[in-house]
Amino acid sequence: MASMPLWTFVSESGRDVLKEWARKVRLPTWARARLDQKLDVVSQQPFETLIHTRLLAGPIAKQRHIYKLRVDGATAVRVMLCRGPLLGESGHTLLEGALERDRRLTPPDAPERAARNREKVISDPAHRRKPYEPFGTADE
């Protein structure tokens, strides 16, 4: 498989914020499966195709580096991510999780948080991100 790297943001204490968010919102198994599947696509398809097929939306207004991964279903699951973000780097970094209903995100400031997280990754890539690990079924 020719895949591009997929990273996930980690907090100062080294915790995977996406996993924590999934646990916090009690993301159901079907949504985890869908997220894993779409992220498998993200890691294998060119960025332009991801935008074209509207799997990724963005860049989100006012946050010119943040894109939104869309997973529709009974609950609309969104993952804020960015390209890179290190200079000349391929792949994507997952920055923040959110749910969406009636075009309103929960948490509403998810894009801004994602932008801040992106800056943290840029300032300390060695400690503020790690390779993406699938959500899987288990709610760790």
């Binding site: 985890r32 779409k38 498998d40 799997l55």
Partner: protein, 412 residues
């Protein structure tokens, strides 16, 4: 098994997980494959919609990852429009692991019927792509493009100098493509010739290309045709262009389309000898040129020169003039030019040009081919559109040498 495969094989033990994953995968598969194959065919959403009899927005919906409301009838129409079949099949979850692991764009593309190796055995043998160096790099770009009958825009990019291996800027773009195929890879060369023929015919040859890369593209399309030498495939395309360019030239248009590669392409891609009579007629001075009714065109249409009198020897390139003279029946006979010589080498034993007197020489720029050195009879001054003094002197000296040595000697 890949990392992805290992992870999936564990997670798939949960029924809800595997069914949800499969549901999402189906949506991704349809949208991404439809996009990949449509783009492989070089179609816009609007064009595909017209082929299917729907709206562009309908195609756009089908290409959205997550759409999920497909209609079999519509998908089948789309598949047929893309020269593919629609397959609906019940499969194991185990097979999903391999499919999801190989979801790269290149794996989603499908050839048309014409590119299907089942019906075209020459496509089955896939040569190695592991050749090292810049030629190997070019090969890794070119061969997949040939196998997939990639978009002609890709060929145009290469021939304009884009996306070529970084080494060897001095190598012409067409040479990169020729070098990427081995001499004995006849099927691949034929495939390239087919794509090139399409690219040539897709161009408008009755208008002048803008300067720069577009003009380089025109030149390199023809140079590649010259190098490929595939008369059965390229003959018609080159002949079409040749006729078109000859017509434009005789209309008096200034035209930056290069004559040399076009004639070269025509020489080496004549399918049935049709050019042979045409050229030999022109070379023997029997073809009249509309703009100069008193003169004969002594060279190739598209290669030679308007307004040249009938007793002109031909195209001269430097000292070649001194090497090619001989007397025959009281007349000087010779073939002089690099352009003529090249064509002449194709027809050994043909009649030679008959020349009465050569007294001077100059440079012709007819606005069509590259400026060409010619020799002509001084008795028809002003027949040539332009003469450069410097060139005149240079060639004049060469002619004098020729006259001193062989010409006078032979005449005596």
């Amino acid at each position: 098994m890949s990392h992805l495969g290992q992870r999936m094989s564990e997670a798939f033990r949960d029924r809800e997980y595997r069914e949800s994953y499969a549901e999402g995968f189906l949506s991704s598969w349809i949208s991404h494959q439809l996009t990949a194959v449509r783009q492989q065919r070089g179609l816009t959403q609007q064009q595909l919609a017209e082929m299917v009899g729907t709206k562009q927005s309908g195609i756009s919906r089908l290409e959205r990852d997550g759409y999920g409301r497909w209609n079999f009838s519509t998908l089948q129409k789309v598949a047929f429009a893309l020269d593919c079949r629609l397959k609906v099949s019940l499969e194991t979850f185990g097979s999903l692991i391999a499919e999801a692991s190989e979801f790269a764009e290149v794996n989603l593309r499908r050839p048309t019927f014409e590119g299907d190796p089942v019906f075209h055995p020459e496509l089955r043998a896939r040569p190695s792509l592991d050749e090292p160096g810049p030629v190997g790099e070019m090969r890794r770009k070119l061969l997949p493009w040939l196998w997939e009958r990639g978009p002609l825009e890709r060929l145009a990019e290469w021939l304009q100098g884009y996306d070529l291996p970084p080494a060897g800027d001095e190598v012409p773009p067409s040479q990169w493509l020729l070098d990427a195929l081995r001499p004995d890879e006849h099927e691949l060369r034929t495939l390239l010739a087919k794509q090139l023929g399409k690219a040539i015919l897709a161009r408008r040859w009755d208008v002048e290309p803008p300067a720069g890369r577009e003009q380089n593209l025109v030149r390199n399309l023809l140079t590649l045709a010259e190098g490929l030498r595939s008369p059965s495939v390229l003959g018609d395309a080159v002949w079409t262009v040749y006729q078109r360019r000859a017509y434009v030239r005789l209309e008096g248009s200034t035209d930056p389309v290069p004559g040399h590669p076009l004639v070269g392409a025509a020489v080496y891609n004549q399918p049935d000898g049709r050019f042979r009579d045409f050229w030999t007629t022109g070379m023997l001075g029997e073809e009249k040129v509309a703009e100069a009714p008193d003169c004969a065109a002594t060279g190739l249409v598209g290669m030679s020169h308007m307004g040249i009198p009938p007793n002109v020897a031909g195209i001269v390139e430097g000292a070649n003039v001194a090497k090619k003279w001989r007397m025959e029946g009281g007349k000087v006979v010779g073939i002089l030019a690099h352009g003529f010589r090249r064509v002449w080498s194709e027809f050994p034993g043909e009649r030679m040009l008959t020349v009465n007197v050569i007294v001077t020489a100059g440079k012709v720029d007819d606005g069509w081919s590259e400026p060409i050195l010619v020799a002509w009879d001084q008795s028809v001054p002003g027949a040539l559109p332009s003469v450069e003094k410097r060139t005149f002197d240079y060639i004049g000296n060469v002619i004098k040498i020729a006259k001193r040595s062989r010409f006078r000697e032979a005449a005596a």
